[in-house]
């Protein structure tokens, strides 16, 4: 799997269990059983309680956003403006704006660090491999990952811990649907 293929995959990052659960609880999305477990846990974790409270404040503020309506004047001319644009020849075919690398990484902040680390390691590995510096023909410490392909619904990264021979075929897949 080439480096560019790794980058092109969108990472459905496995969400950290606890943080995800707290956010879902604050949003009112946990099941009764989950909710009870979370409440029991919150009873002994002050910082977790503050996080849930902060989440609830933020979501409440967002949900309370009053719907924004067109003014009477805007409403009156809306349809005529649409027709004018149609008469002008419709919408010219504009290619959708692809997300930049920064947005992709911003979408998945944790992936950015891991990806950078993996990219450096892979580049180093390829370079060292060129000079036969991996040692045994099975790669460093006897492990060589020859190829990796992700299925449609997942992304994959080769992760080698810095200064360690431990290699992980790291699979990112979407959590099971709610």
């Amino acid at each position: 799997m080439s480096l560019s293929e790794i980058w092109r995959h969108r990472a459905h990052l496995a969400l950290p269990g606890r943080s995800h659960l707290l956010l879902r609880h604050a949003a009112g999305e946990t099941s009764p059983a989950e909710g009870q477990r979370v409440e029991a846990w919150l009873a002994s974790c002050g910082e977790c309680r503050r996080l849930v409270a902060a989440s609830r404040s933020g979501l409440a503020a967002l949900r309370a956003s009053a719907p924004v309506r067109l003014t009477a004047a805007e409403s009156a001319v809306f349809w005529s403006e649409v027709m004018r644009r149609l008469d002008r020849g419709g919408t010219p075919a504009v290619r959708p704006v692809r997300p930049g690398i920064r947005e992709l990484l911003g979408d998945h902040p944790r992936l950015s660090l891991a990806s950078a680390a993996a990219a450096v390691v892979l580049a180093l590995g390829l370079t060292l491999g060129q000079f036969g510096l991996w040692g045994a023909s099975s790669g460093m410490n006897g492990v060589e990952i020859l190829s990796v392909e992700a299925g449609d619904d997942a992304s994959v990264m080769l992760f080698q811990m810095p200064e360690s021979p431990v290699k992980i075929i790291w699979v990112f897949e979407p959590p099971d649907p709610l």
């Binding site: 269990g17 492990v143 299925g151 449609d152 811990m161 431990v166 699979v171």
Partner: protein
């Protein structure tokens, strides 16, 4: 053809074919490996003593990802002839499939597939392991932690 000539021909044929015998027999000889299903969490419980053989790797996972508990959920000894699949279920409605594809001089190549319960392949990889070496596949979120699968060549 006389009996003598026939014997000589058979002997010659045998000696020509004999180098192929290791290949044929190795294709049928199962390649052995070990699969350990490990549950890693950040709860304060500790490392399962049965993972002593992976002490170095466990230490690295601890250091890098901050896990504090490692529990061995399952330890399996698998084997399969070349090009034959070996499968096992993994917690989280996944399954692991290992197919030995080459085995020579203490180095073994495996196709490793990670599959969803509906048959959808999540990852398909080829790894080459020296006897005794271990590669990790992960991670599957499971019960407030993550599952890692350690695959070691015998």
């Amino acid at each position: 053809m006389s009996v003598r000539r026939r014997s000589v021909c058979l002997l010659l044929l045998g000696s020509l074919l004999s180098p192929l015998l290791p290949i044929v027999s190795s294709a049928e000889t199962p390649v052995a490996f070990q699969v350990r299903v490990i549950h890693a969490t950040k709860q304060p419980k500790g490392v399962d003593g049965r993972l002593a053989g992976l002490a170095k790797e466990i230490q690295e996972l601890q250091k890098t990802f901050g896990y504090t508990t490692f529990q061995l959920i399952e330890a399996l000894r698998g084997s399969a002839p070349l090009a034959q699949p070996w499968k096992t279920a993994i917690p989280g409605n996944r399954s692991l499939e290992i197919v030995p594809t080459a085995s020579e001089g203490g180095h073994h190549t495996f196709a490793v597939r990670f599959v969803r319960s509906n048959g959808q392949v999540l990852v398909n990889s080829q790894v080459r392991l020296k006897s005794g070496a271990t590669v990790f596949v992960g991670k599957v979120p499971h019960q407030e932690g993550d599952i890692y699968i350690a695959i070691s060549a015998d």
